[in-house]
């Protein structure tokens, strides 16, 4: 690192033109690994793999129901049964080493994943992958309706001429990544990674941001501080009281946008434990959870956007999927209603203690690992909510391994946990209710259904949804799922996942917002590329 001081353009804020963007993530240290398929690589954990490697289509998580926009594939056509996709690969894209990007590269990438279990992180059931000129055809063993976005927009395409020489693509650190994206890796260090824009050859107009500087901050505190001081201009991090600790430091420029996506967090109830096997009890519990409190106090008023619809689907991203029956039906704390429901179904409220049908006091153990302070806070709030209907809850903080183990074994009272996310509500409901994922108590349920919820109806509806041939069938299946979810309350939804971020408009403008939600605002999402391409200097 000789020559000019690398700090030379640091003072750009003082009027001079700024040509870099600082992006931060609170991920601790990273090691030099740019492998786009390995989740533990620096490229994946900080998200810069999407600046180097591009997907076939660009999917906007914020509007999951919209199909992915063409990207490396200029045309994407699915068969009605969602088992075949026809792609037209654009011909004007080149790799950063100058070679042309072809359909062969796409076939190579997907074939490599198909043949390498370690790389197939989405467990995509490939069947055949063939190329024909610029066209690529892929067939699958099952319907890809619920996973189409993964195939199209979550798998980066890599150059065949380089990767075919790599002996083990799953463990190679890819120290010198060559991709089709607008940026190339300039420098790598434990704390910071610099990407510089490609001189030429990018198939779209070159982005205005000449350099991307990724920093991996040690923890949320460090990241928040960096945001507050302006050292970081874009990040995705949990900021307690963000108004005070972040926005107020420069209200004109510091912004936060946190759109929800189709993935939620909620209280999984162990439905095998008495009396919580009673849907009525769970329903009553659902009625007293104060989601607004949780949203403001535990989630800092933004991080997990409050779930309003009783179907558990997030506002915005989920709106399109809510069954007619439940449109407009939102959660509200209704202690009196819950009490009535309970007494009607045979419970008694003895002073401040709820007694079940056999006369035993109802108690529940809530647990989550200690370091997850938002979950912990949530549990504290839930605990006091439950107290209002006489359920005595205790909050435990086992360490994470123990907790993991216990949740999978079904050895818990209730835990706040997440669901998988996706492009449809399928992932949410599957994680909570899928009978196929059911494991007897004591066996590890790794994929979902931790609460051991057993409803053949729900399992069938899930199957019907993912395998349906048309929208109507899907709508019916979804309505069934929602009905079960609402009436049986196997899990009490609380907040949505968000793909937002905190950013600064001091140097760069053009970020997505409620008014123009063109892409997710999370630097690690594939959509981050779309954001970077839209940014313009603030003072121009």
């Amino acid at each position: 690192a000789c020559g000019d001081s690398p700090n030379a353009n640091k003072n750009a804020a003082n009027g001079a033109k700024t040509d870099f963007l600082s992006i931060g993530m609170p991920n601790g240290t990273v090691t030099e690994n740019n492998n786009p398929f390995v989740g533990t690589s620096a490229g994946a954990s900080l998200g810069y793999k999407w600046m180097i490697y591009e997907p076939l289509g660009m999917w906007n998580n914020v509007k999951p129901s919209e199909p992915p926009a063409p990207w490396l594939a200029s045309k994407i056509t699915w068969s009605p049964d969602w088992k075949t996709v026809d792609l037209e690969i654009r011909t004007d894209a080149t790799w950063s080493d100058g070679q042309k990007l072809t359909a062969e590269d796409v076939v190579f990438t997907h074939t490599m994943i198909k043949n390498n279990k370690a790389l197939n992180t989405f467990a995509i059931p490939y069947d055949t992958i063939t190329a024909d000129g610029d066209k690529v055809k892929m067939t699958f063993k099952t319907s890809q309706f619920t996973t189409q976005h993964k195939v199209i927009s979550q798998i980066p395409i890599v150059p065949k001429h380089i990767w075919e020489k790599i002996s083990d693509p799953a463990t190679d650190p890819i120290k010198e990544p060559v991709g089709s994206g607008p940026y190339t890796l300039k420098t790598f260090s434990q704390q910071g990674i610099t990407l510089s824009v490609r001189e030429s050859g990018y198939w779209q107009p070159a982005p205005a941001v000449k350099e991307l500087r990724y920093t991996s901050y040690a923890d949320n505190n460090a990241q928040t501080t960096a945001l507050a001081t302006g050292a970081s201009e874009w990040s995705f991090v949990f900021i307690p009281s963000y108004e005070q600790t972040f926005i107020s430091k420069d209200p004109a420029n510091y912004k936060m946008w946190a759109p929800g996506v189709l993935g939620i967090h909620g209280l999984y109830i162990n439905t095998t434990q008495k009396p919580f096997d009673d849907p009525k009890l769970r329903q009553a519990m659902n009625m007293v959870v104060n989601r607004a409190d949780i949203f403001t106090q535990a989630e800092a008023g933004y991080f997990h956007p409050e779930i309003k619809s009783i179907t558990g689907l997030p506002e915005g991203a989920g709106d399109a999927y809510i069954a007619d029956e439940y449109k407009g039906k939102t959660f509200s704390v209704d202690v009196a209603g819950a009490k009535k429901l309970l007494t009607d179904s045979g419970y008694t409220l003895d002073g401040t203690t709820l007694k079940d049908k056999s006369g035993k006091p109802v108690t529940i153990k809530l647990s989550d690992p200690a370091p997850w302070s938002d979950y912990q806070t949530t549990l504290e709030i839930i605990k006091s909510n439950f107290a209002e209907i006489g359920i005595a809850a205790t909050v435990e903080k086992p360490n994470q391994n123990v907790w993991d183990q216990n949740v999978q074994k079904g050895d818990f009272g209730a835990v706040v946990r997440w669901t998988n996310g996706g492009s449809t509500p399928f992932d949410i409901y599957q994680t909570v209710m899928d009978g196929d994922l059911y494991k007897p108590l004591g066996e590890l349920a790794q994929q979902g259904n931790f609460g051991r919820f057993q409803s053949p109806e729900a399992t069938a509806a899930l199957k019907a949804y993912s395998g349906a041939a048309d929208d109507a069938a899907r709508a019916t299946a979804l309505a069934t799922l929602q009905k079960i979810f609402v009436e049986q309350a196997p899990m009490l939804p609380i907040g949505a996942d968000n793909v937002g971020g905190a950013y600064s408009t001091k140097n760069w403008v053009g970020w997505p917002s409620d008014a123009d939600p063109y892409a997710p605002l999370q630097p690690t999402q594939a959509g981050a590329l779309a954001v970077v391409l839209r940014l313009k200097p603030a003072n121009s």
Binding site: N220, N221, T224, T225, A228, I239, P240, S241, Q244, T245, Q297, P369, A370, P371, S373, Q376, T377, E380, I381, K383, S384, T394, V395, E396, K397, P398, N399, N401, V402
Partner: protein, 333 residues
């Protein structure tokens, strides 16, 4: 966590300064309490112990209960303000005292008992036993304790205060064992031990009645040192979120404060008091240890006085090597 200062000083009495003090031990029993440092330390410690006992009863609120005022600065209602859930920090502090003191003292006791067992028997029995025990305790001494404790606790399923105290106690006895062994070795060579053997005393009686009473100061100092270490360790574990205990302690308060970035929110009342409470407790324990050190080593004790006043009101500074000369107006007869 810090280096328990006292433990370093413990090296000193071993150097033989012990030879004299024992002679005077009895006479100075009350002197220990009259030592200003020790007295101050004991008073502060006494207050903490009292709070550990009555804390949960006098706490104005349930430390976990949510309130309406979120992250509110200190006020008449909440003397030390509130947390992001409206919990009363003062109540958390009060209630947390018990766990801190419990773990500190239990770990101190466990480590002390172990160190006495290992150190004294190694020193007294000697030979192969000594060599084995010495190597054993030296191994424990050299392996960094805190990382070890962190790793062990993270392995434990549900670490409650008992378990944490045991882990800390079981990993932190070695220093004291070493000091005790050295002391025992030097005591063993003293004639009174031999004399009681010649009188026909049994071995356990020699250890229990001849050696141990002469080791009390060292044992006490080791105990206090371990308590400091245990308190800091417990708080550290809670702070970094390794321990899963559901009871409140000061580390838990700091954990929440840090997780919610209390300082970035300018909520100093949330973060500062617990830290000060720890520091004050540590200081009190250190003071007690100074007292013990000075009690054990008369040189240190007299070292306290460095300036003396003459009758005519002049202060004279004591200096080694240059005895002050005060010429009295009228020489005495």
């Amino acid at each position: 966590m810090s280096i328990p200062t006292s433990s370093i000083e413990q090296v000193i009495p071993v150097q033989g300064a012990m030879a004299q003090p024992a002679k005077k031990a009895r006479r100075n029993n009350f002197r220990f309490v009259s030592n200003k440092k020790a007295a101050a330390g004991l008073i502060i410690l006494g207050i903490y112990v009292l709070l550990a006992i009555i804390g949960p009863w006098i706490a104005p609120y349930d430390p976990g209960a949510r309130g309406d005022q979120l992250v509110a600065p200190p006020s008449a209602d909440h003397w030390m303000g509130t947390t992001h859930l409206g919990q009363d920090v003062w109540s958390q502090l009060l209630v947390g005292t018990r766990s801190v003191m419990f773990v500190g003292f239990l770990a101190g006791i466990v480590a002390t008992v172990l160190s006495v067992l290992v150190g004294v028997s190694a020193g007294y029995i000697g030979g192969k036993t000594d060599e084995t025990l010495s190597v054993f305790s030296n191994v424990f001494l050299v392996i960094p304790a805190l990382p070890l404790i962190i790793i062990i606790t993270s392995v434990l399923e549900n670490a409650d205060d008992w378990l944490i105290a045991m882990v800390i106690g079981l990993t932190s006895w070695s220093w004291n064992a070493r000091v005790l062994r050295a002391q025992t070795l030097s005591l063993r060579r003293r004639d009174f031990v031999e004399a009681s053997r010649a009188t026909g005393e049994k071995t356990w009686r020699i250890i229990g009645f001849e050696l141990l009473p002469n080791l009390t100061a060292v044992i006490a100092s080791g105990f206090v040192g371990t308590v400091i270490f245990a308190v800091l360790s417990e708080i550290t574990l809670a702070f970094i979120g390794v321990t899963s205990n559901t009871t409140w302690n000061w580390g838990t308060i700091l954990f929440w404060a840090q997780g919610q970035q209390a300082l970035a929110q300018n909520a100093w009342w949330w973060f500062v008091p617990a830290g000060l409470a720890i520091a004050l407790l540590g200081t009190a324990l250190s003071l007690i240890n100074f007292g013990i050190d000075e009690f054990v080593s008369p040189r240190l004790r007299s070292a306290g006085k460095t300036k003396i006043k003459t009758t005519s009101g002049r202060t004279v500074r004591m200096r080694i090597g240059f005895t002050p000369v005060i010429q009295k107006e009228a020489s005495r007869d």
